[in-house]
């Protein structure tokens, strides 16, 4: 497969130019290495400089991200390194979010490590590298990029989880996480191999083409069989044909499903979620926060990039060959099991871990909806001669935007929550049992308030951002007029009530109960409070002032999925124009019955 046309001629200039496009990611990666070096040369006493350096770099990356974020040139998406990565509003948003989340973690990690006596200089660098990997996933435009991003991230996180050498659970959690992660990535890799086998490409665009072809062939085989029944003389090469045709789809589908399984593991969906509570509990709490935010975002980004954007041809999202059935099923299991398991949890970290699982369940519904819409759009393109602005595509974009929004809002809130947990672990024994939180509101009203806001956002209570995230997500799913999905939405909302119960238990502990004799000691330093303040603030602000965020997410989504071929650029321009004109009514091409139904 040849790569997309718009790359410069000479390698070198291309590289520099591309690095420019990738500035945020590049900076973060670079800083990862830099920190490694500084740590090697810095004396032990100067460890705390590591954090400042890291924060400086992240700030730099953030600014760079902002320039790209605001830059309209990227609205159509710019492919860099010969289509290996892409820079578009979607990745721009993710860059900012990931850098922000990473910074949030960095602010706390140092204090935590110092308090618990396992301070080590590589921490910041590892965090940066993991974030770099996550960002790469966000930019991924090629299976290889995706794989490398995921692995870079995962491997660094394995280390981070196990870094607390003076505590047994840490190592255990690391091993569990590592074994399962490695197992999953092996499965992922096998899936990738099959995909490559089916489509002969690793670049998404190429895969997409191959997918379509594979399916046309698949169908033709069935037709051939029918033809044979109808008494046509079978051609001598029929058997080869069978091999060739079947093989393509027969490789493609298991490939898709294996990759799906692996990614579902990464976002810790039931039943691949088992590692989550253990890893979250055993890991140093800031790392838990990192996992619950950055890693989750990366996983969802991968799902969106690969599945919603690429594997969303009509046949791949509809039964019997579609993967959406699986995701919907898993979503159901995930939200249910996640919530139920959290109900009886007294350990705050485990509780939040299960709650994070539950949230993934809601989120997967959005993924299904988006994919369905894109599949429909794809079909209407194919049948009605591809109008990029079809109703379904617009709906799909909205769905993607909603998913994006939801994961961001969730990541912010859960970062705040976990950081609060970390902050409460000022001495040997972390305050991980709910009862230890009793009367927090009296001792530290500010933090209690912040935590409460984050919890309410997770609970999905207006006017917190979490509510609007749910609202838009479920709106998108409802729009996808499918009774099963609509039932799942109602189910999800009822689940949210169960969720409310266990979040409420923390609020109750903080506000209703009187403080115990031995109050939890809190971390020194202003890092954690700052993070909680910011996350809480965002959890409110993102909700009440949703519109601008939404515009960006929308734009991201609109540049996100594309019909193959040159129509893309035209479409994006058209979309931008339409969006500037704020015309909410898309044409209703999808309303017309298509031939064949």
């Amino acid at each position: 497969m040849t790569h997309a046309p718009f790359v410069a001629d000479t390698m070198a200039s291309a590289t520099l130019q591309d690095l420019g496009h990738l500035a945020p990611m590049a900076i973060v990666g670079l800083w990862g290495l830099l920190l490694m070096a500084t740590d090697a040369f810095a004396a032990v006493g100067f460890r705390h400089f590591q954090r400042r350096i890291a924060l400086f770099g992240l700030a730099l990356a953030f600014v760079a991200g902002l320039t790209i974020y605001g830059n309209a040139d990227y609205d159509g998406g710019v492919e860099v390194f010969r289509g290996f990565l892409v820079v578009d509003p979607f990745s721009a948003i993710l860059d900012l979010v990931l850098v922000g989340l990473c910074a949030g973690t960095v602010l706390v990690a140092g204090d935590y490590a110092r308090t618990h006596r396992f301070e080590y200089g590589e921490q910041e660098s590892l965090l940066c590298i993991a974030t770099f990997g996550a960002m790469m996933v966000g930019h991924a435009h090629d299976l290889l990029a995706l794989f490398l991003g995921i692995e870079t991230m995962s491997i660094s996180v394995y280390v981070l989880v196990g870094a607390r050498w003076n505590a047994k659970p840490s190592a255990e959690a690391a091993l569990k996480y590592f074994l399962m992660g490695a197992f999953a990535s092996a499965i992922l890799l096998m899936g990738i191999a099959l995909l490559y086998g089916a489509t002969g490409a690793t670049a998404f665009e190429g895969i997409r083409g191959g997918v379509a072809e594979a399916f046309t062939r698949w169908l033709r085989i069935n037709d051939l069989a029918r033809a044979l029944d109808q008494g046509h003389t079978a051609s001598p090469a029929a058997s080869d044909l069978v091999i060739q045709g079947v093989a393509k789809a027969a490789l493609l589908i298991p490939g898709v499903l294996l990759v799906l399984g692996a990614l579902l593991f990464k976002v810790s969906a039931v039943p691949m979620h088992m590692w989550t509570p253990d890893a979250y509990e055993g890991a140093p709490t800031p790392v838990t926060a990192f996992m619950a935010s950055v890693v989750k975002v990366a996983g969802v980004a991968a799902l969106l990039r690969l599945f919603v954007a690429t594997f969303s041809t009509h046949r791949l999202v509809t039964a019997p060959y579609g993967w959406t059935t699986a995701v919907a099923l898993v979503a159901f299991l995930t939200m249910t099991v996640g919530n139920l398991a959290a109900v009886r949890q007294s350990n705050v970290k485990r509780l939040l871990a299960y709650s994070s699982i539950a949230h993934v369940g809601y989120l997967l519904l959005g993924v299904v909806a988006a994919a369905n819409f894109y599949g429909e759009a794809f079909a209407s393109d194919a049948t009605l001669g591809g109008d990029g602005l079809s109703w379904s595509r617009d709906a799909g974009d909205t769905a993607v935007a909603s998913v994006l929004l939801y994961i961001v809002v969730y990541a912010v809130a859960s970062l705040g929550a976990f950081v609060t947990v970390a902050w409460l672990s000022g001495n040997k024994h972390e305050a991980l049992e709910a009862y230890q939180w009793s009367g927090l509101a009296r001792r530290h009203p500010g933090m209690a308030l912040g935590m409460t806001v984050c919890l309410l956002s997770l609970m999905g209570l207006p006017p917190m951002a979490g509510f609007f995230g749910k609202l838009f997500l479920f709106r998108a799913v409802f729009e996808n007029s499918n009774p099963w999905l609509q039932f799942l939405v109602v189910w999800a909302l009822l689940n949210a009530v169960v969720g409310a119960y266990y979040y409420l238990r923390l609020v109750v502990a903080m506000y209703f109960h009187t403080p115990p004799k031995t109050a939890p000691v809190v971390l020194p330093g202003k890092g954690a409070p700052a993070v909680v303040a910011v996350t809480a603030g965002l959890s409110v602000a993102l909700g009440v002032l949703m519109q601008p965020t939404l515009d960006r997410a929308d734009l991201a989504a609109r540049a996100f999925n594309y019909p193959p071929g040159p129509s893309k650029a035209r479409r994006v321009d058209g979309l931008r124009a339409a969006w500037e004109a704020r015309d909410p009514t898309p044409p209703v091409a999808a309303e017309e019955p298509s031939p064949g139904t």
């Binding site: 109703w391 509101a441 009296r442 309410l456 209570l461 207006p462 006017p463 509510f467 609007f468 609202l471 838009f472 479920f474 709106r475 409802f478 729009e479 007029s481 609509q486 939405v489 109602v490 909302l493 009822l494 949210a496 009530v497 409310a500 119960y501 409420l504 109750v508 506000y511 209703f512 109960h513 949703m546 519109q547 939404l550 515009d551 929308d554 704020r582 909410p584 009514t585 898309p586 209703v588 309303e591």
Partner: protein, 560 residues
Amino acid sequence: MNHLLSILLVLPVLGALTTALLPRGEDRLAKGVGLFFSGLAFLVSLPLATAFEAGRAGMQFEERHAWIDRFGIGYHVGVDGLSVWLVLLATFLTPLCIWGAWRAIDHRSREFVVSMLLLETGMIGALVALDLVLFFTFWEVMLVPMALIIGIWGSEQRVKAAIKFFLYTMVGSALMLAAIVYLAVVHYQVTKGTLSFDLADLDRVVLPPDVQALCFWAFVASFAIKVPLFPVHTWLPDAHTQAPTPGSVILAGVLLKLGTYGFIRFAMPLFPGAAAEAAQLLAILAIVGIVYGALVAYAQSDVKRLVAYSSVSHMGFVVLGIVGMTTQGLTGATYQSLAHGLTTGALFLCIGVLYERRHTRALDAFGGVAKVMPIFTAVFMIAMLGSAGLPGLVGFVGEFLIMVGTFSGSAHVLNDPPLLVLVAATGVILGAVYLLHMFQRVMFGPITHPENEKLRDLSLREQLVFAPILALIVLMGVYPKPFLETIDPSAQALAAHFTHKRCASVALARSGASRAALADDFAEACTDPMAVIRAVYGDERAPQVSGFGPAPRQEGPRAP
């Protein structure tokens, strides 16, 4: 003055922020600030009463801004006759509660005031919101402060009660949220791509019968729990009993009303077809609630619990008035809401007075109090009689309108309304039974407990807190004119709108279409809505006495 409502929404929040910034432990100061801001809010809200154009059905003080117009969510507020008085009730009761709690709330006053003020914003917002997402937002905003008030300053079982209250309500609102989103999506599809959550827009949508029923019940789930309608009432006694006095007052005074208000504003007009079908069942539930609540109230040995169950009974009347969908019924329901807010609020304040002095709510702990607290006796008695619906006091007007409307006008949705009213009216007897029972146990008879010998009578502060409420209880019973003439037009308009839209929904159902449609499409089909409905239901279900439209006045012209 068209920003009035917004100001009204912002003021308490400002107050909350100010209070939150106060230094810790400044109890009196915090309450003072809270009292100041809530009182200010009340003053600001007064123009609602004075500048409100009586005799106009539409929304007034309307205000509309884009908020999240990517999804057609707007900031759209306004009041009409059905909501304006409830808003005033909220702004009226809040300062009284804060003032009344001057001694009752002795710790963490700062948090208390913040909660109260946020709660006030939530209540007002839910009453004035005309955009469903906005409404839902405020609806949920009320939840947390109320739960805090119950859970922090309540009595023994407070935590359980708070959680119960919270979750109970959330279950309902979860379903309602689903219905709201669904409705918006359908609107989006029916209008070929107009995104909107605005009530006026969504109101144009007519859903096919089955879906309509689902959505209606989803809304009902939320509102019925809030009302509370039998059999989802069990959170109320706990919440009421455990909450501190101001909490109970606000809960009974305003929060419950939001349930019935939701019925009036959203559930009934949005899904008239389903509402008409469900009316019978709802009416029966309401009546069961009336009788059952009264019976259970009589069985209580805890004064507060008793009054709590009396709320179940009273709110049953309100629901009965609503589901009958007659002008009188709606007017009466709204009025009865106000009445219940005042009388039950007053009763809870009275119980608070006793609780402050004796720290018990057990009926047996009292007796003969009237001897030592004459002023209090008078206050308590007026509140009690108002609650019992004595003519000439506020409680009677609403009950009468509800029952007369249902009895004579609601045949178009109910079977044999007279029988329903007959059963409901037994509530009038039972009300007297349990209220007098309570009153006698507490007030009359010899003083059996020596502690009661020394009870202080109402202090000046308490008298000043009670005075306005009692004044209203009497005034609104004797001279309801100013209230009725603002409520009535809106009620009439709503009833008429209900019939028209119900006709549209009937027409849609008859056309056999499985997709939703716009009400406007049936405009010509529904020139005579009642005829269409009759054609479907047959004459015996059709109204013998239409509660709609301009009706002849038998007793001369109404005074201007």
